[in-house]
């Protein structure tokens, strides 16, 4: 269930701490705004922050997807705000944090997973192989 401990370099630890801190910071800001949408947004950031560090084997195996998801989540939040506003100091602070978060997660992705295109291609290949194997087993059983 839990992944075997891995050795992280100090820079990796600092980046990960930064990611968690920024995610929790923007999550906290959203939690203070009131309303269902902002609260759900805050919950999303807290869940993402936990997913970035939890040592579960499944989370470690798919950390690349969590990184992509977190970048997409923050980008969606920024785009949503850019379209609808409101434009005031707290919102600018939250968006600055989210931009910094995306940059840090991108750095983390490159350091831990490498080229995103290669990663996605590799994972798609694994998925296709799995589906092919499963359908082959199902055909043999029939």
């Amino acid at each position: 269930m839990f992944a075997r401990p891995t050795t992280l370099r100090p820079a990796d630890v600092a980046i990960r701490v930064g990611i968690v801190g920024l995610a929790l910071a923007t999550g906290y800001i959203h939690s203070t705004l009131g309303g269902l949408l902002f609260t759900l947004n805050a919950v999303g950031y807290v869940v993402a922050a936990i997913a970035m560090v939890i040592p579960l084997a499944l989370a470690v195996r798919f950390r690349w997807a969590i990184r992509l998801g977190l970048m997409g989540y923050a980008a969606t939040t920024i785009i949503g705000w850019a379209i609808q506003g409101p434009y005031y100091s707290t919102a600018y602070l939250a968006k600055g944090i989210e931009v910094a978060l995306i940059v840090l997660v991108a750095i983390d992705f490159v350091r831990m997973d490498g080229n995103p295109v290669t990663v996605i291609r590799r994972e798609l290949g694994s998925l296709v192989a799995l589906v092919t194997r499963r359908s082959g087993q199902a055909g043999a059983a029939a």
Partner: protein, 125 residues
């Protein structure tokens, strides 16, 4: 690679610092010497109270906006076409006085910019 990481890291830091210097520019003043005929609107539990208010036509007027909760609120007033005619400063747990310019007779919906579900109407007559 290390240089790229450093540049991206500094970029992230700059983004946060730039965001911290952001400012809100909208008309508001602390509720001090207020017109006794000023309209009073409170915001609490993500609702305006009252939601229907009246104001004189062709005369500038004041709205004492009292946000009684931790969530940020303001009043943005639009005309019947949806064009913005006034936007108050967003405040938290604070009472401010908005100086609204003279408006022609008519019905003007207002909302909170942060929570667009908070709605009301100013009838100018």
């Amino acid at each position: 690679m290390k240089r790229l990481t450093l540049i991206l890291g500094l970029g992230a830091l700059a983004a946060v610092l730039a965001a911290c210097s952001g400012s809100s520019a909208s008309p508001a003043a602390p509720a001090g010497s207020v017109d006794p005929n000023a309209i009073v609107v409170t915001a609490k539990d993500l609702k305006f109270n009252p939601t229907e208010v009246s104001a004189p036509a062709d005369t500038a007027f004041e709205i004492v906006f009292d946000n009684q909760e931790g969530a940020p609120h303001n009043m943005k007033i639009s005309d019947s076409t949806g064009a913005e005619v006034f936007k108050g400063e967003i405040v938290t747990n604070q009472k401010v006085t908005y100086q609204v310019p003279a408006l022609a007779a008519g019905s003007y919906p207002f909302i909170c910019e942060v929570h667009p579900d908070m709605k009301g109407t100013i009838t100018v007559e």
